[in-house]
Amino acid sequence: MEPTNTANPAYFHKVVDCQWACPAHTPVPEYIRLIGQGRYSDAYMINWVSNVFPGVLGRTCDRPCEPACRRGRVEENNAEKPEPVAICRLKRVAADMKDDVKARMPSISPNNGKRIVCVGAGPASLTVARDLAPLGYEVTVFDGEAKAGGFIRSQIPRFRLPESVVDEETGYILDLGVKFKSGQRVDSMRALLEQGYDAVFVGSGAPRGRDLDVPGRKEAAANIHIGIDWLASVSFGHITSVKERVIVLGGGNTAMDCCRSARRMGGKEVKVIVRSGFEEMKASPWEKEDAQHEGIPILNFHVPKTFEHDNGKLTGMTFEIVRAVYDAKGKRTLVPTGEPDVLVPCDEVLVAVGQENAFPWIERDCGIEFDKWGLPVLGEGTFQSTLHNVFFGGDAAYGPKNIITAVAHGHEAAVSIDRLLTGEDVSRRPVPMTNLMSQKMGIHEWIYRNAVSNDVRFKVPWTKAETALANIKIEVELGFDAATAFKEASRCLNCDVQTVFNRATCIECDACVDICPMDCITFTGNGDESELRTRLKAPSTNPTQDLYVSDELKTGRVMVKDEDMCLHCGLCAERCPTGAWDMQKFLLNTTQAGARCRDAHFPVAHDSAAEAV
């Protein structure tokens, strides 16, 4: 193998699994350390800069970081149930325990004369507004609802996300001089374009819930609701009760929110019924667990066949029982088992079988092209539509995803808009800002706490079930207290503190090989990656994790470190007599809109590195 090029920011970034997996690339270990130190406001601001809604995300994030977390891998065969660090819930700790952070909000530059309009006040639009307003842009945000937040406000039930948190975090953004036009739904792109804005950002979400067209749907319509519309009505207080027997159709997180909401509004027998198998359901595992914890059964492999009714009064639904069959390519088909259809009696049905994008308000002749799925045609990574000053982000760009993805889109679109309006090439993207700093303080002293905790993941305390189920506004999860947060934060392996190897000073004494608790390090002859992986001290079981390979050493061998299982305990560096190993903190911040995203701040030569990130 060629020696690893650690100058490429992508290499060390990838070692920080959580940050690499996060769409917004939030520097997770950096803020977890601050939480461990009780510096909640500092931890909050790191989050705020990167993901804009720490309090919201600390309760509702899809947490792509957690399945990626190295802790979940190293606990394999070490703890009874290997689990990642509770990253999401630690974020909430920072949000809940911080001091007043108003004074830390960015100052606003003088108006630069450019006007930007955002359609919709959801997470993507608000991120664009947050990034651009302080730079002196005049940002106007339109939304059909009375308050900002979009999906965050309308569809996430209050028992998961108190409204005060939404108010606070949307407030920080609107307070940056953003003009919020509430209750004004944009219904014509042409009319909007005629108002002469310099750039338009469409962050209107995927607001249409899919319907289920099976016999009986029309006749029994009075007791059948589309999930996301129903959640919004609940959220705004238009709906305050449900009937006793409720079926929720669908296996995604919206279905989980529907069933848990129904349970709190008078639903006594609430069931989730899903076509696929339990394992393949789209809902996050923890959301499924939460639903089951509240006594909601999940029936899988049931395909809806009819709505049964008695003169328009819904009485139940029939389902065909199927099983999953996989072909040679692993493609799944649901095949009827031949068992008789099942009748499930019910009084009300919530349909949560997916969402669609809908842009009835964008005239098809105004220069914005759409693909065959009805989604806008966008430049990759720029979020620029075929009309050069119109950008899309969030669910409006690539269909329904999640909040953190919408935030990531917002940041990139803001960079695009900033570059466009300063006369620069939108397709050229800024490199991230990186920093690598030795953590050495003394012979065995590091700036970070390198002792590895053996604790297993701590459980977040919950409100008692009977209390929680009695009122839809009572938050179910209570969040960690400070002492537990410290212990959970200590489980973080500090993967951003990198093991950096200096070939020139290595004397090949084997001290690092002997001390490494995970047997990550091998000194051996060089070879192809696949062949080299067979010769390591511990079997290389995860080819998605890189090998760190040095140049040839004095004995003709190379140092190979399998990054997969490294605990970042720093013992290799402590035992190294010559300082050939050092622990260096790698900090990567994605470059946001502003002076740093412009050509003058990053030379052309770094382009390839930026693409790799």
């Binding site: 606990e75 070490n78 079981t541 305990c569």
Partner: protein, 351 residues
């Protein structure tokens, strides 16, 4: 030296051996030696060898004297029996222990100061008597604990860290062991575990006095240019006469070598030492030839390593003393101390 303990976590694929232990179970406490000390590599080799031999930790007694090397018994086999003796007296304490209980495996760990200076007489007599043990000398040529004076094994002409030249002749522990009748004699290098681990396995399975002189660079006081026991010097001058594979009685022999290049030497317990000759003219079962070969090579500045001499039919002190097989601690007071009548009988027999 390090402040945090080695984390308990291990690689998820870490295997257990036939007696149910992982390699990590054979570790001891965290080392307090200087970072990069060759001795720590030897400890790691001992750990690996014991794991591979499927030794139950409580079947091992590790004994040592005084010095950096003798501290290392704390850093491996944390679940085994241990005894830190006074300086240079490890061989006699080990001999006593061995006579009292021949069922344990004896691992003697010593250094060049402990064995070649203050304990030279002890070393020589243990070899002479054929005490069944694996005697590992962690040889770095300096007194590390007292800041790097030349030890008795430092080569003539070697430079110390400050540039002073050593004018005394070195004691060659391997040569003494050969001369005094040790039946398993090897030399190795802490920086070459591929060679060292099978040598330790062979020594621990040997039926008599086994000695391994392991050159183990002192990173703090003897790893400079001009040193003859530095990592660089040993790597440049290392001449391995053989590679050995240790094959335990129950394992299948799978590797094939060209005829003539390999000598299989069966051991008393049924295990096999498979020697791959790297020097065609070297015969490791001929004591005299081994000595002259080593001297000739040493004169050319080479450090000969590998298994230098082996007597597969070795006997030990128990055989020559005709002692009882049963460990004394299992005999009971009545048998061990039969009373004055028995004593009178013995005394009468000697009159």
């Amino acid at each position: 030296m390090t402040y945090i303990a080695k984390p308990k976590m291990h690689h998820p694929t870490l295997q257990t051996n036939k007696v149910g232990y992982t390699r990590r179970d054979y570790e001891g406490r965290i080392s307090t030696l200087c970072a990069g000390c060759g001795h720590d590599s030897i400890s790691a080799a001992v750990i690996q060898a014991c794991w591979e031999l499927d030794i139950e930790p409580h079947r091992v007694a590790k004994l040592s004297g005084i010095g950096c090397s003798s501290k290392t018994t704390d850093y491996f086999l944390g679940a085994s029996h241990g005894f830190n003796t006074v300086h240079g007296r490890m061989p006699s304490v080990l001999t006593g222990a061995n006579l009292a209980n021949r069922e344990l495996l004896y691992l003697g760990v010593s250094g060049d100061g402990d064995s070649a200076s203050i304990g030279l007489g002890q070393f020589a007599n243990a070899m002479r008597r054929g005490v069944r043990m694996a005697y590992i000398v962690e040889n770095n040529g300096v007194y590390g604990l007292t800041k790097g004076q030349f030890s008795a094994t430092a080569d003539r002409g070697a430079k110390n860290k400050k540039g002073a030249i050593n004018n005394d002749n070195p004691i060659d522990l391997v040569g003494i062991a050969l001369q005094l009748g040790a039946t398993y004699v090897a030399r190795s290098f802490s920086g070459d575990k591929a060679q060292l681990i099978p040598l330790i396995k062979g020594a621990m399975s040997h039926g008599g006095a086994a000695v391994i002189d392991v050159i183990s660079p002192c990173v703090t006081f003897n790893n400079h240019g001009g040193s003859t026991k530095s990592y660089d010097y040993i790597r440049q001058h290392n001449e391995a006469v053989s590679r050995i594979d240790f094959i335990s009685p129950s394992s299948e022999i799978t590797t094939e070598y060209a005829p003539g290049a390999v000598v299989d030497v069966p051991q008393h317990d049924g295990s096999i030492l498979r020697l791959r000759k790297l020097h065609a003219d070297y015969d490791p079962t001929d004591r005299d030839a081994a000595m002259s070969y080593m001297h000739a090579r040493a004169a050319r500045g080479e450090v000969v390593t590998g298994l230098l001499y082996l007597d597969p039919l070795a006997t030990d002190l128990h055989t020559s003393l005709n002692t009882c097989e049963q460990p004394l601690n299992t005999m009971g007071a009545q048998l061990l101390c039969p009373g004055s009548e028995a004593l009178n009988k013995i005394n009468d027999a000697l009159r």
